[in-house]
Amino acid sequence: MTIALHAQRESAASRRGRSVWLARCMRFLPIVPTLLFLLVFFIMPVGEILQGGLVDANGQVGLAQFERIARTPVYAKVLWITFAISFMTAALSILLGYPVAYLLSRLSERARERWLLWIMLPFWTSYLVKTYAWMLLLSKTGVLSTIALALGLVHETSGTIPSLTGVLIGMVHSMLPLAVMTMLPVMRGIDDRLTQAAETLGAERSTSFFTVFLPLSSPGVAAAGLLVFISSLGFFIVPALLGSPKETMIAQLVISSVLELFDMRFAGALSTVLLVCSIVIFFIYDRMVGLTSLTGEVAERQRGSRAQGLKLALLMTAGRVFAPFVMRRKVHGGEGARAASPLGLYTCVVMLVLVVPVLSVIPYAFTKSDYIAFPPKLFSVRWFGTFMDSPVWQSAVIRSFEVGLGTALLSLLLGFGATLAMTRMPRRASKPVFALLVAPLIVPRIVVAVGLLYLFGRFGLTGTNLGLVIGHTVLAIPYVVVTLAAGFQRFDWRLDDAARVMGASPLRRITSIVLPLLMASVTAAFLFAFLVSFDDLTIAIFVSGGINSTLPKQMWDDIQLAITPTLAAVSTTLVILIALVVAVSSWLKRRAR
């Protein structure tokens, strides 16, 4: 009798154990499709490239391809210039962007939103449009040359492009918004009262900045440096259009070896070099700063050491040296940073330099003449007519919208489940999962594109909309996850607990509590995913197979042939579209508050 009772209790306990185990699994279920998706369409293709670079045509493992890269001076030079340009871009973007991010982080919420609009517009504007704008500004017959000649500043000009300067201008202009946006969350997390405390303890304003704000903001600076450097490594639009052959970057080499030389192995080897560099940088970064700083979260793990003390002493000295140049805080002046200060003035100038080139394409779209010239002869809408009536452009626009919407939906579905599961995991598990989810952001796009080219070739997905949606979703998932994770961070899980105590099922809790409260983040994530797809050229070049163009692909094909006013009309349409999306998302964000 007692034995029977005992056995019964045992089985009840094991059943209970299983149900707990099941419940725990259910919580992680939403992330499974996302992980599978990334495994098939990101990790496997990228892994295949690594393998492809190492294995030669006869199936022999060897470094023959890498020897070829190292031995050929042209290729070594390309590698060198790629790293040099990427490094300079990252350094300049941070130097120019830091004061802007600082000012924005100290402003009130409303003022910051207003200023951010002017960062978001160039941030989301297609690289192609931005580069096209700089071509119009910097070329021999461009705006700057024409004005300089007219003012008599120079007597003869060859234009700023093609040159290294041109490439750097284009790259920094493209990357500066990214740098500012990455530094901002970390800076916003720095408590105002800390610098105030330093000042009450007797620190000069500059010393308090150098000893308190600067060290606390360093994870943001590192994150920005990492993202800009790695994105720059994979750039090809800017060097192709603004640079001379001397500024050829590695991505251009990959494209030409795939599309012109059909040498997939060599492309694989080049991609491997890019990939390995990215992974190394990524690991160093994670070691030194921690990956979560990408969402503005800063891990506190600094310990006191002699190096720390030395660093502090250096920072204090820097503060004292700069003290005479810093304005004293006026005792009765308004609190915080204001637009009228020198810092505000500087920020205004940066914003102008960011926005004006983008807007400068608009007048050209309304020119009456058959070619691009400055100043444009206004006013005609014939080029919009050419754009709209052309079946090639029409189908490109339609395809871009279809693929964009498909990408937005798919990546939101995958990203939401993944973020939901991730936020409820123990920290130990969520860290590597987060690393995997944002990895497509950190691996250069061109590597993903080449990998997908291999994969899709086998499944006959090349040239299909589905192939494009899949490729773009891989790229969009990090944006969706980072946006949603920021939303979830502010989400008060006790609201979910409250609903749970009152008897709401998991699905009801998501639909009645979680989703409505995260609506702003969800919409923003949707729009970002749409824009990532709408803007992408890299995947489109490789996956659309040359027949079914998306809008950026069509622009890229046209821009290499001739700079026509049709392109200005297309660019103008794109700028207006982006402006609309940015305005809508900021309106939604404000309404949510």
Binding site: V20, R494, L495, D497, A498, R500, M502, G503, P516, L517
Partner: protein, 365 residues
């Protein structure tokens, strides 16, 4: 057997950290039980395991004799009021209160009647259309209460519900919660770190410290007969006089404690308290040092050398209704005495102190 709610051997560990050691606790139907303790004492962990929001590492929870350890919080028949309320910010007051009823698929008329009734009970009927953002802290508190009992759970859990309110509003809400408890007849389990709140509200207090229960009893039990030094120190103001027992008894045979530079008579039954726990008998008791709890309201000031102990007035602190006199005793220890303002004690005066031995408690060492 007739317990409404019972925790049996319930425990919680996070890795190596123990949030709650194996604990037994029974709550009677309709009782108002307070879990009182400093932060980190395990009181919120215990509440969350009762609610089901946190799964226990060991032990089980029973409600009405039914094992609910592995049952979803929503199916346990409980209601919960959260710290800083957790009102749904995107829903009106009315929708917030209706949420639990809707989850139970009540008919429209039932929902309306129950919500209107609940809002009337907390006197917030005219705020039904507002949003939580548009309400003051006290008003949000009432809505949180209404939302919790609108669907008539038989057990209501409250997690430091008054923590965010200022003193005056807190006192007002305390009487509101008492009234609701009487009207609803439900079992209340209330978490707080505020001893005054616990003394005012509770039928019984469960005092917790360092992840375990220190003492369970009525507020009067805990105040008058604290079991440990911690209990004595945590609830009310207390003077703890330390010393050894004298070999000889007092004039009427009462035991004497040698402390604070004097001979202090103890209640006759004091020896039972110290003999019982270790069972080693009187000899061990005489060897050990003991602590006597003297609440500040027990002593009276008298002429020097005519009381149990003597001391000098070191400080006089005004407390509104009375004055607290800080005494430096002759052996260097301190004693706080509450006395009427009319006595106007002066700093530096030498005084003697007496009290009724039966208003003091000898603590278990």
């Amino acid at each position: 057997m007739s317990s409404k709610l019972e925790a049996i051997g319930i425990a919680k560990r996070y890795g190596d950290a123990v949030a709650l050691e194996a604990t037994d606790l029974a709550v009677q139907a309709g009782e108002f039980l307070t879990l009182l303790g400093p932060s980190g004492s395990g009181k919120t962990t215990l509440l969350q395991m009762i609610s089901g929001l946190v799964a226990p590492s060991a032990g089980r929870i029973e409600i009405d004799g039914r094992d609910v350890t592995h049952i979803e919080p929503g199916k346990r028949g409980i209601g919960m009021v959260f710290q800083s309320y957790a009102l749904f910010p995107h829903m009106s007051v009315w929708d917030n209160v209706a949420y639990g009823l809707r989850m139970r698929r009540k008919s429209r008329d039932e929902v309306r009647a129950a919500v209107d009734g609940a809002l009337a009970m907390v006197r917030m009927s005219e705020y039904a259309k507002r949003f939580p953002k548009e309400l003051s802290g006290g008003q949000q508190q009432r809505i949180a209460l209404a939302r919790c009992f609108a669907y008539r759970p038989s057990v209501i859990l409250l997690d430091e519900p008054l923590g965010a309110l200022d003193k005056k509003l807190r006192e007002h809400m305390q009487s509101e919660i008492r009234r609701l408890h009487k009207e609803l007849g439900a079992t209340f389990v209330y978490v707080t770190h505020d001893q005054d709140e616990a003394l005012t509200l509770s039928d019984r207090i469960c005092l917790m410290n360092q992840a375990r229960i220190e003492q369970v009893g009525t507020p009067a039990d805990l105040y008058d007969r604290p079991a440990t030094r911690f209990a004595a120190g945590f609830i009310g103001h207390s003077n703890l006089l330390e010393g050894a027992l004298d070999d000889s008894r007092g004039p009427s045979g009462e035991p004497i404690l040698l402390a604070a530079g004097g001979r202090i008579p103890l209640p006759m039954n004091a020896m039972n308290a110290i003999k019982a726990p270790n069972g080693k008998g009187a000899s061990a008791a005489f060897a050990a040092r003991h602590t006597l709890l003297v609440r500040p309201e027990a002593p009276r000031l008298v002429e020097p050398a005519s009381g149990f102990v003597d001391g000098t007035i070191a400080d006089v602190v005004f407390f509104g209704s009375d004055t607290r006199v800080q005494l430096a005793m002759d052996d260097g220890s301190e004693l706080t005495v509450r006395c009427e303002r009319s006595l106007s004690p002066r700093v530096g005066d030498k005084v003697g102190v007496v009290w009724d031995p039966y208003r003091t408690t000898l603590l278990q060492s």
